[in-house]
Protein backbone atom coordinates (compact mmCIF):
# COMPACT_ATOMS: atom_id res chain seq x y z
CA UNK A 1 0.00 0.00 0.00
CA UNK A 2 1.40 3.40 -0.91
CA UNK A 3 2.32 5.57 2.02
CA UNK A 4 0.32 8.77 2.44
CA UNK A 5 2.28 11.85 3.29
CA UNK A 6 0.84 14.67 5.37
CA UNK A 7 1.60 18.28 4.47
CA UNK A 8 0.99 19.46 8.02
CA UNK A 9 4.14 19.03 10.08
CA UNK A 10 2.62 20.09 13.37
CA UNK A 11 -0.36 17.73 12.97
CA UNK A 12 2.10 14.92 12.30
CA UNK A 13 4.19 15.75 15.35
CA UNK A 14 1.05 15.90 17.46
CA UNK A 15 0.55 12.20 16.88
CA UNK A 16 3.72 11.41 18.82
CA UNK A 17 4.02 11.29 22.62
CA UNK A 18 5.63 14.34 24.25
CA UNK A 19 8.77 12.35 25.03
CA UNK A 20 9.29 11.51 21.32
CA UNK A 21 12.20 13.06 19.37
CA UNK A 22 9.52 14.11 16.87
CA UNK A 23 8.97 17.19 19.00
CA UNK A 24 12.60 18.20 18.64
CA UNK A 25 12.06 18.19 14.87
CA UNK A 26 9.79 21.22 15.31
CA UNK A 27 12.53 22.98 17.30
CA UNK A 28 15.14 22.03 14.70
CA UNK A 29 12.91 23.29 11.87
CA UNK A 30 12.39 26.55 13.74
CA UNK A 31 16.14 26.89 14.29
CA UNK A 32 17.31 26.29 10.71
CA UNK A 33 14.70 28.60 9.18
CA UNK A 34 15.54 31.40 11.62
CA UNK A 35 19.33 31.06 11.55
CA UNK A 36 19.52 29.99 15.18
CA UNK A 37 21.83 27.22 16.34
CA UNK A 38 20.14 24.41 18.24
CA UNK A 39 22.53 21.45 18.12
CA UNK A 40 20.59 19.56 20.81
CA UNK A 41 17.39 19.57 18.77
CA UNK A 42 19.30 18.64 15.61
CA UNK A 43 20.94 15.71 17.36
CA UNK A 44 17.74 14.50 19.06
CA UNK A 45 15.83 14.77 15.80
CA UNK A 46 18.23 12.27 14.22
CA UNK A 47 17.02 9.67 16.72
CA UNK A 48 13.53 9.81 15.26
CA UNK A 49 12.72 6.53 13.58
CA UNK A 50 9.55 7.02 11.55
CA UNK A 51 9.08 6.56 7.81
CA UNK A 52 6.45 9.27 7.83
CA UNK A 53 8.83 11.79 9.41
CA UNK A 54 11.84 10.84 7.30
CA UNK A 55 11.22 13.43 4.55
CA UNK A 56 10.77 16.13 7.19
CA UNK A 57 14.00 15.21 8.92
CA UNK A 58 15.81 15.45 5.62
CA UNK A 59 14.06 18.70 4.80
CA UNK A 60 15.50 20.22 7.99
CA UNK A 61 18.96 18.92 7.04
CA UNK A 62 18.59 20.26 3.48
CA UNK A 63 17.54 23.71 4.72
CA UNK A 64 20.42 23.81 7.19
CA UNK A 65 22.92 22.81 4.49
CA UNK A 66 21.45 25.35 2.06
CA UNK A 67 21.98 28.22 4.49
CA UNK A 68 25.44 26.93 5.34
CA UNK A 69 26.33 27.02 1.63
CA UNK A 70 27.04 23.29 1.60
CA UNK A 71 25.67 22.07 -1.74
CA UNK A 72 26.93 18.49 -1.37
CA UNK A 73 25.21 17.94 1.99
CA UNK A 74 22.07 19.67 0.74
CA UNK A 75 21.93 17.48 -2.37
CA UNK A 76 22.51 14.37 -0.22
CA UNK A 77 19.58 15.28 2.05
CA UNK A 78 17.37 15.94 -1.00
CA UNK A 79 18.12 12.43 -2.26
CA UNK A 80 16.37 11.07 0.81
CA UNK A 81 13.22 13.11 0.31
CA UNK A 82 10.66 11.18 -1.71
CA UNK A 83 9.25 13.21 -4.61
CA UNK A 84 5.73 12.17 -3.60
CA UNK A 85 6.15 13.39 -0.01
CA UNK A 86 4.93 16.83 1.02
CA UNK A 87 8.48 18.25 1.47
CA UNK A 88 9.30 16.74 -1.95
CA UNK A 89 7.27 19.56 -3.52
CA UNK A 90 10.10 21.95 -2.60
CA UNK A 91 12.84 20.03 -4.38
CA UNK A 92 12.80 22.33 -7.46
CA UNK A 93 13.32 25.28 -5.12
CA UNK A 94 16.41 23.69 -3.60
CA UNK A 95 17.78 22.83 -7.01
CA UNK A 96 17.20 26.42 -8.13
CA UNK A 97 19.03 27.76 -5.08
CA UNK A 98 21.93 25.38 -5.67
CA UNK A 99 22.25 26.33 -9.33
CA UNK A 100 25.28 28.25 -10.38
CA UNK A 101 24.57 31.68 -11.72
CA UNK A 102 26.88 31.63 -14.67
CA UNK A 103 25.51 32.00 -18.17
CA UNK A 104 24.39 28.38 -18.35
CA UNK A 105 23.45 28.28 -14.67
CA UNK A 106 20.89 31.02 -15.10
CA UNK A 107 19.06 28.90 -17.65
CA UNK A 108 19.16 25.96 -15.29
CA UNK A 109 17.80 28.05 -12.46
CA UNK A 110 14.76 29.09 -14.45
CA UNK A 111 14.25 25.53 -15.68
CA UNK A 112 14.25 24.26 -12.11
CA UNK A 113 11.85 26.94 -10.96
CA UNK A 114 9.46 26.41 -13.82
CA UNK A 115 9.17 22.75 -12.85
CA UNK A 116 8.05 23.72 -9.34
CA UNK A 117 4.65 24.63 -7.99
CA UNK A 118 3.51 28.26 -7.70
CA UNK A 119 3.97 27.92 -3.93
CA UNK A 120 7.62 26.85 -4.39
CA UNK A 121 8.23 29.73 -6.80
CA UNK A 122 6.64 32.17 -4.34
CA UNK A 123 8.79 30.79 -1.52
CA UNK A 124 11.90 31.18 -3.70
CA UNK A 125 11.07 34.85 -4.30
CA UNK A 126 10.69 35.47 -0.57
CA UNK A 127 13.86 33.57 0.23
CA UNK A 128 16.20 35.31 -2.18
CA UNK A 129 17.65 38.68 -1.26
CA UNK A 130 17.10 41.22 -4.03
CA UNK A 131 20.77 42.20 -3.85
CA UNK A 132 23.63 40.04 -2.66
CA UNK A 133 25.29 41.55 0.45
CA UNK A 134 28.73 41.17 -1.16
CA UNK A 135 27.55 43.08 -4.22
CA UNK A 136 26.26 45.87 -1.96
CA UNK A 137 29.60 45.94 -0.18
CA UNK A 138 31.40 46.11 -3.55
CA UNK A 139 29.31 49.12 -4.57
CA UNK A 140 30.06 50.79 -1.22
CA UNK A 141 33.78 50.05 -1.60
CA UNK A 142 33.83 51.62 -5.03
CA UNK A 143 31.97 54.65 -3.74
CA UNK A 144 34.60 55.03 -1.01
CA UNK A 145 37.35 54.91 -3.64
CA UNK A 146 35.64 57.55 -5.76
CA UNK A 147 35.51 59.77 -2.66
CA UNK A 148 39.24 59.31 -2.15
CA UNK A 149 38.92 57.03 0.87
CA UNK A 150 41.47 54.56 -0.39
CA UNK A 151 42.11 52.86 2.96
CA UNK A 152 38.40 52.22 3.39
CA UNK A 153 38.17 50.83 -0.14
CA UNK A 154 41.10 48.51 0.43
CA UNK A 155 39.75 47.20 3.74
CA UNK A 156 36.31 46.54 2.24
CA UNK A 157 37.76 44.96 -0.89
CA UNK A 158 39.82 42.64 1.32
CA UNK A 159 36.69 41.55 3.19
CA UNK A 160 34.92 40.91 -0.11
CA UNK A 161 37.77 38.78 -1.44
CA UNK A 162 37.82 36.73 1.75
CA UNK A 163 34.04 36.17 1.62
CA UNK A 164 34.08 35.31 -2.07
CA UNK A 165 36.65 32.60 -1.40
CA UNK A 166 34.28 31.03 1.12
CA UNK A 167 31.46 30.63 -1.41
CA UNK A 168 31.00 27.00 -2.31
CA UNK A 169 28.04 27.07 -4.69
CA UNK A 170 30.28 28.75 -7.25
CA UNK A 171 34.03 28.76 -7.92
CA UNK A 172 34.61 31.27 -5.11
CA UNK A 173 38.40 31.30 -5.40
CA UNK A 174 38.19 32.20 -9.11
CA UNK A 175 35.70 34.99 -8.47
CA UNK A 176 37.82 36.32 -5.58
CA UNK A 177 40.83 36.38 -7.89
CA UNK A 178 38.91 38.17 -10.65
CA UNK A 179 37.60 40.69 -8.10
CA UNK A 180 41.15 41.22 -6.82
CA UNK A 181 42.32 41.95 -10.37
CA UNK A 182 39.39 44.33 -10.81
CA UNK A 183 40.37 46.18 -7.61
CA UNK A 184 44.00 46.49 -8.72
CA UNK A 185 42.74 47.98 -11.98
CA UNK A 186 40.46 50.39 -10.13
CA UNK A 187 43.32 51.53 -7.92
CA UNK A 188 45.53 52.00 -10.97
CA UNK A 189 42.83 54.07 -12.68
CA UNK A 190 42.13 56.21 -9.63
CA UNK A 191 45.74 56.82 -8.73
CA UNK A 192 45.80 54.55 -5.69
CA UNK A 193 48.88 52.70 -6.87
CA UNK A 194 48.13 49.46 -5.10
CA UNK A 195 51.26 49.34 -2.91
CA UNK A 196 49.16 49.21 0.27
CA UNK A 197 46.59 46.93 -1.28
CA UNK A 198 49.00 44.21 -2.32
CA UNK A 199 49.72 43.06 1.28
CA UNK A 200 45.94 42.93 1.85
CA UNK A 201 45.56 40.72 -1.22
CA UNK A 202 48.25 38.42 0.14
CA UNK A 203 46.65 38.33 3.60
CA UNK A 204 43.15 37.60 2.33
CA UNK A 205 43.99 35.29 -0.55
CA UNK A 206 47.07 33.58 0.83
CA UNK A 207 50.46 33.81 -0.87
CA UNK A 208 49.83 31.37 -3.73
CA UNK A 209 46.51 32.88 -4.83
CA UNK A 210 47.58 36.42 -3.92
CA UNK A 211 50.70 36.41 -6.09
CA UNK A 212 48.70 34.71 -8.82
CA UNK A 213 46.11 37.52 -8.66
CA UNK A 214 48.86 40.05 -9.13
CA UNK A 215 50.53 38.04 -11.87
CA UNK A 216 47.34 37.69 -13.88
CA UNK A 217 46.53 41.37 -13.35
CA UNK A 218 49.84 42.18 -15.02
CA UNK A 219 49.66 39.54 -17.75
CA UNK A 220 49.39 41.19 -21.13
CA UNK A 221 50.35 44.57 -19.68
CA UNK A 222 53.76 44.00 -18.15
CA UNK A 223 54.69 40.42 -18.82
CA UNK A 224 58.08 40.65 -17.18
CA UNK A 225 56.49 41.64 -13.86
CA UNK A 226 53.72 39.10 -14.42
CA UNK A 227 56.30 36.34 -14.73
CA UNK A 228 57.91 37.43 -11.45
CA UNK A 229 54.59 37.41 -9.60
CA UNK A 230 53.51 34.09 -11.11
CA UNK A 231 56.84 32.53 -10.19
CA UNK A 232 56.35 33.78 -6.64
CA UNK A 233 52.90 32.19 -6.67
CA UNK A 234 54.33 28.87 -7.83
CA UNK A 235 56.97 29.06 -5.10
CA UNK A 236 54.26 29.55 -2.46
CA UNK A 237 52.72 26.10 -2.62
CA UNK A 238 49.06 25.40 -3.27
CA UNK A 239 46.15 27.77 -2.78
CA UNK A 240 42.42 27.50 -3.37
CA UNK A 241 42.68 28.72 -6.95
CA UNK A 242 46.24 27.54 -7.36
CA UNK A 243 45.49 23.89 -6.78
CA UNK A 244 47.64 21.12 -8.20
CA UNK A 245 46.05 21.27 -11.67
CA UNK A 246 46.20 25.05 -11.95
CA UNK A 247 49.83 25.12 -10.85
CA UNK A 248 50.72 23.05 -13.90
CA UNK A 249 48.86 25.40 -16.21
CA UNK A 250 50.34 28.53 -14.61
CA UNK A 251 53.77 26.96 -15.10
CA UNK A 252 52.91 26.57 -18.81
CA UNK A 253 51.81 30.22 -18.89
CA UNK A 254 55.07 31.38 -17.29
CA UNK A 255 57.07 29.43 -19.87
CA UNK A 256 54.96 30.88 -22.68
CA UNK A 257 55.41 34.44 -21.39
CA UNK A 258 59.15 33.91 -20.98
CA UNK A 259 59.44 32.87 -24.61
CA UNK A 260 57.79 36.14 -25.62
CA UNK A 261 60.14 38.07 -23.38
CA UNK A 262 63.27 36.30 -24.63
CA UNK A 263 64.22 35.73 -21.01
CA UNK A 264 66.32 32.76 -19.98
CA UNK A 265 63.89 29.87 -19.51
CA UNK A 266 62.70 29.07 -16.02
CA UNK A 267 65.52 26.86 -14.88
CA UNK A 268 63.92 25.75 -11.68
CA UNK A 269 62.18 28.62 -9.92
CA UNK A 270 58.50 27.92 -9.72
CA UNK A 271 59.00 24.37 -10.83
CA UNK A 272 59.36 22.73 -7.49
CA UNK A 273 62.82 24.05 -6.62
CA UNK A 274 63.60 25.29 -3.11
CA UNK A 275 61.46 28.42 -2.54
CA UNK A 276 63.16 31.69 -1.78
CA UNK A 277 62.70 33.51 1.51
CA UNK A 278 59.04 34.71 1.33
CA UNK A 279 59.73 38.25 2.59
CA UNK A 280 62.57 38.73 0.09
CA UNK A 281 60.32 37.38 -2.63
CA UNK A 282 57.48 39.76 -1.72
CA UNK A 283 59.80 42.78 -1.65
CA UNK A 284 61.39 41.82 -4.95
CA UNK A 285 58.03 41.53 -6.66
CA UNK A 286 56.79 44.79 -5.13
CA UNK A 287 59.91 46.65 -6.22
CA UNK A 288 59.57 45.33 -9.72
CA UNK A 289 55.91 46.23 -9.96
CA UNK A 290 55.65 49.64 -8.38
Amino acid sequence: MAMEFSADLYALIGQFPPSSPAWSLADAFDAVTNGIENPEAMKRMQGLDSAEMEPWKNLVSAIEALYQDDPERCAAALEHIADASAPGSLKPLFRACLSRQDSSGKDRLFTELSSGSDAAVDLYRRLIMPKHPLAMLAFQAEDALLRGRINQFETMAGRIMRSLRELRRIDGSLLALRYGIYCLKLLDTHGGGGEEFFPIVLDEMGRADGFCTLGLALTGKNNEAAVSALRASLDSGEGLFMDKDMRGLIRDLVNYLEKGLSLPPDSGRGSGAEPEDPEKQKKAVQLELF
Partner: protein
Protein backbone atom coordinates in the same frame (compact mmCIF):
# COMPACT_ATOMS: atom_id res chain seq x y z
CA UNK B 1 53.38 50.26 -12.73
CA UNK B 2 56.24 49.74 -15.16
CA UNK B 3 55.60 50.13 -18.86
CA UNK B 4 55.05 46.95 -20.78
CA UNK B 5 58.34 45.40 -21.81
CA UNK B 6 56.78 43.35 -24.59
CA UNK B 7 53.81 43.32 -26.87
CA UNK B 8 52.12 40.02 -26.10
CA UNK B 9 48.66 41.08 -24.93
CA UNK B 10 45.91 39.18 -23.14
CA UNK B 11 44.04 38.43 -26.38
CA UNK B 12 47.10 36.70 -27.74
CA UNK B 13 47.56 34.80 -24.48
CA UNK B 14 43.94 33.64 -24.46
CA UNK B 15 44.29 32.53 -28.06
CA UNK B 16 47.35 30.50 -27.03
CA UNK B 17 45.30 28.94 -24.23
CA UNK B 18 42.53 27.81 -26.54
CA UNK B 19 44.49 27.02 -29.72
CA UNK B 20 47.60 25.46 -28.22
CA UNK B 21 47.00 24.27 -24.66
CA UNK B 22 43.41 23.11 -25.03
CA UNK B 23 43.87 21.84 -28.56
CA UNK B 24 46.79 19.65 -27.48
CA UNK B 25 45.18 18.32 -24.32
CA UNK B 26 41.38 18.29 -24.11
CA UNK B 27 41.71 16.86 -20.58
CA UNK B 28 42.75 20.31 -19.43
CA UNK B 29 39.44 21.90 -20.38
CA UNK B 30 38.30 22.81 -16.87
CA UNK B 31 41.55 24.42 -15.79
CA UNK B 32 41.98 26.19 -19.14
CA UNK B 33 38.51 27.70 -18.77
CA UNK B 34 39.36 28.81 -15.23
CA UNK B 35 42.48 30.57 -16.43
CA UNK B 36 40.66 31.96 -19.46
CA UNK B 37 38.06 33.49 -17.15
CA UNK B 38 40.74 34.76 -14.78
CA UNK B 39 42.35 36.57 -17.71
CA UNK B 40 39.08 38.32 -18.42
CA UNK B 41 38.74 40.67 -15.45
CA UNK B 42 35.45 41.96 -14.14
CA UNK B 43 34.41 45.18 -15.81
CA UNK B 44 32.19 46.52 -13.02
CA UNK B 45 30.65 45.83 -9.63
CA UNK B 46 27.44 45.00 -11.52
CA UNK B 47 29.27 42.17 -13.24
CA UNK B 48 30.38 40.85 -9.85
CA UNK B 49 26.74 40.89 -8.76
CA UNK B 50 25.79 38.83 -11.81
CA UNK B 51 28.37 36.18 -10.95
CA UNK B 52 27.19 35.68 -7.37
CA UNK B 53 24.86 32.86 -6.39
CA UNK B 54 21.51 33.76 -4.82
CA UNK B 55 21.85 35.07 -1.27
CA UNK B 56 19.26 33.69 1.13
CA UNK B 57 17.50 35.37 4.00
CA UNK B 58 15.97 33.74 7.06
CA UNK B 59 12.20 33.83 6.87
CA UNK B 60 11.13 31.55 9.72
CA UNK B 61 9.28 28.22 9.60
CA UNK B 62 5.80 29.55 8.79
CA UNK B 63 6.55 30.57 5.20
CA UNK B 64 8.18 27.21 4.46
CA UNK B 65 5.31 25.23 5.95
CA UNK B 66 2.71 27.30 4.14
CA UNK B 67 4.50 26.71 0.83
CA UNK B 68 4.49 22.95 1.46
CA UNK B 69 0.79 22.98 2.35
CA UNK B 70 -0.10 25.14 -0.66
CA UNK B 71 1.92 22.94 -2.99
CA UNK B 72 0.24 19.84 -1.64
CA UNK B 73 -3.31 21.14 -2.06
CA UNK B 74 -2.87 21.95 -5.77
Amino acid sequence: MKAAADTMDTDEIRTWLINDVLHNDAGKEERVMRLYKALRPLESAEELEGELPPALRYIGPGVWLKAIKDASTV
